[in-house]
Symmetry: C2
């Protein structure tokens, strides 16, 4: 392999020492996304979009199995509609992109490019729901939304336009709506654990950091390699506040008017950012087999005198695996040597490499090499489809175990303000401590090291880990998890 091609392929930044630059380089060099000409926007390239599509497929399937119906609401929301929810939620005004002209004409009323769709979906729910028989109503849409935040672009983490799904449901009572909130939270957790190979923390946002208007905001928090926490998905029990503002009522069995209880829940392509950042390394992208566009790449290694035999053998293996439902690619390019191919497919995040050369042909074997740890094993050609399946499972398990170990090592306790500051300042990660429940006690931590309370336990009755608030020393009401965030 020439120096030149090595440069082009290699990741030059270090995950450990310059996580942000390293991440941006992996995203671009692995062909996941490019920067659009307008700051804050990206182009999602085929490899990136294929990962997002697979995540969608999992989640969408689970949604549908549990009674959710997809729909599509308009991209634009009239300004007067956005105004209607101002009683309950902070306005989106500071971050709305406004359409003011259609063709050559100025519009009579400005249209917001949706920052989220509560204010256009709720009025229709109000129309569509008449009777208790119309409940529960569970709607979801996959779409893009726009929030005009003036921050540095970070593909999938911070972009003015992002792809997401937003679920909006209405129920007859609190119990049913709470079950819904939990069902979606558990599906998000399942996506992180079983598909992304990321064990997250699962909890509740503190009262002062709930979704505005929500009764309870539940959250999935994922630890990133730089010690920061990413809010990976949220599921809100909204109580009756939105239903009251938008008149979502129904006639019960006795023909009495009742106010519905609503929920909303969303997951964005930020989950893809978390995925890329968690597993990838200085060789490039690492993907779990669940999401990799190619799970296996076969690299044949030949000399002129055995070329045909090696390539035929590799092609047979490709066929065997493809028939078994494995996403496999045979890289038989003539103009690249095996070393180049290894690097390229490592960069692109293929979980399992199969090397076959004249020895493998003679012995009826294949050499399997795991990404990212390079563990390799020579295995029999016979039964290769099952062996490959086992290895893919092992690779998934290794990724999960590694992320779990990192999470466990990065979750610490503290009993004083100084200890919180020192621990997060030095190690990052999460710090658990007793907390009185007062937002004022978060302030000194936020000011000093930009860490905040990312969650408290889901169970409101859970005893705090310490009796006293680590900051003010008053009686602790619950356990707070402090961390820096994205």
């Amino acid at each position: 392999m020439s120096e030149e091609s090595h440069q082009e392929l290699g990741i030059t930044e270090s995950k450990e020492h310059s996580t942000g630059d390293w991440y941006a380089e992996v995203v671009q060099k692995a062909g996941l996304a490019d920067y659009a000409p307008m700051g804050g926007f990206i182009v999602t390239k085929p490899r990136g979009y294929a990962v997002w599509e697979r995540m969608q497929d999992y989640l969408d399937g689970w949604f549908k199995e549990t009674g959710v119906q997809n729909a599509y609401f308009p991209l634009f929301i009239p300004e007067s509609y956005l105004e209607r929810e101002k009683d309950i939620v902070e306005g989106f005004d500071p971050e709305v992109a406004w359409v003011t002209h259609g063709g050559y004409d100025e519009l009579e009323e400005r249209l917001a490019v949706r920052p989220t769709s509560e204010s256009i979906i709720a009025p229709f729910m109000s129309q569509w729901i008449r009777s208790h028989r119309d409940l529960p109503m569970r709607l979801n849409q996959w779409c893009s939304v726009v929030r005009w935040e003036a921050t540095e672009t970070k593909p999938f983490f911070r972009t003015k336009e992002f792809l997401w799904q937003e679920g909006h449901t209405a129920h007859r009572d609190m119990e049913d709506a709470w079950d819904e909130t939990m069902t979606r939270l558990e599906q998000y957790q399942r996506l992180y654990e079983d598909v992304l190979a990321i064990p997250p923390l699962v909890g509740r946002k503190p009262e002062h950091d709930k979704f505005p208007g929500a009764h309870t905001t539940t959250t999935i928090e994922a630890l990133m390699p730089d010690g920061k926490s990413v809010q990976g998905a949220t599921s809100h029990y909204l109580g009756t506040s939105f239903a009251e503002a938008f008149d979502i009522t129904y006639a019960d069995e006795d023909q009495n008017d009742q106010t519905a209880h609503t929920t909303s829940w969303g997951l964005s392509w930020r989950a893809m950012g978390a995925l890329i950042m968690t597993h990838s390394d200085d060789q490039g992208l690492v993907l779990p087999p669940t999401l990799a566009p190619e799970q296996v790449v076969i690299v044949p290694i030949w000399q002129e005198d055995n070329k045909e035999a090696v390539i035929d053998y590799a092609a047979e293996i490709e066929e065997t695996l493809a028939e078994a439902g494995v996403r496999v690619h045979l890289d038989d390019r003539e103009n690249r040597n095996p070393g180049f191919k290894y690097n390229e497919w490592e960069l692109q995040g293929v979980p399992l490499r199969i090397e076959v050369g004249p020895n493998e042909v003679d012995e009826g074997t294949a050499t399997l090499v795991h990404r990212p740890d390079g563990e390799s094993e020579s295995v029999d050609r016979e039964g290769l489809d099952e062996t490959v399946d086992e290895h893919l499972e092992t690779i998934f398990a290794k990724l999960y175990a590694s992320a779990e170990e990192t999470l466990e090592g990065a979750t610490r306790e503290a009993e004083s303000r100084e200890e919180i500051l020192g621990t997060i300042g030095q190690h990052g990660g999460y710090v658990k401590c007793g907390w009185c429940g007062d937002e004022d006690c978060e302030e000194p931590i936020k000011e000093a090291i930009a860490a905040e309370i990312v969650m408290v336990p889901l169970d409101r009755d859970e005893e705090p880990i310490h009796d006293e608030c680590a900051i003010c020393g008053e009686e602790a009401e619950e356990t707070a998890y402090f961390a820096r965030t994205y």
Copy 2:
């Protein structure tokens, strides 16, 4: 069934006498879409979206089998980017929705909400394509686009925002790009024929009606019940014009710079409008089994003394069919009588109804009733899954045959201007005639009866059906198909 509920369910307009109003009523009452508060926008309700999702699944699967990769480009296009294509295409200015403000700030450069994405995709193709090894490059995106046309809203046919897919590909030469153009055209034709149960005409737009900048625009034309033609999908061979404007070049095997040949092709939710309009009737929506969210509804008919037996029997049938992969729903609502249910499911377009009452239980049978023609048959419970499959196929075949018969009856020939005017004026549909190829000969027809040349044969060498142009009498160059259009 009470008068009241009949009113609510029934379609009051007539397909034959007021096609437009009837269509709007079917769309709303079958729960496919609602009107948004802003003129020109609609809300796609779950039943409507489910049909669109199934159409997507078919087409997306075929695209991927034939080398297409999905991607996602930004919703917004800077004004200067749109300007770049003005040399080759008519500007979209008159119908662009402009974003002028982000939050409280006016933007330095206006952003167009994409009316189509050539001008943002082509510059990236130019970056990504370096060598002949990068070709062909086949990208597609499923997204919504906005065109600010000031016309009456007609769900799925005429809306300012619409859902579609847009494919954009680059190739090394004309032959490869032309093959691509034909592959996509054939896939659109297959979607119409095998999924929508609509036999379309397939052809080429006359030179003066091509996509601006295109070498050839191929089209799928579908006949609507009011005698108008709908352009159901288009596939463009763009030659090198876009590649030249956007500098899409590649190094060939000899390291010489070559200009790529490009294509683009798209199908919008207008295909769903064509589907609804073609098959539905005065009882409501009619859907082919390929696309129906529920293919079969089971309606049990019981009296108090046999209720349990009938419902158990119906539930067993539901299980049998669900296991066989049929999309089946058992309507065991207590508060609705069978007549009401029949009407409701007919309105909603379920292709096959299964009625089971005490007789069916005793005899071990089930009564199958087809939508839309009401043909019914008593069949054995034994082997019901296979019988149902056969009936679903028959229902599809009946829909297709009916649409085919309509198309054949509505395709006529003419040898003079008067004959064209008289035939379309009286019957609608298509009129084939000899044509000299001059746009001026289309004018008098357009002016008199608003009909135009919707297509000419795909094959440029095909002999015209008559020797003389029906309008000017000069030598005919090709066969023109005149029709009124949507």
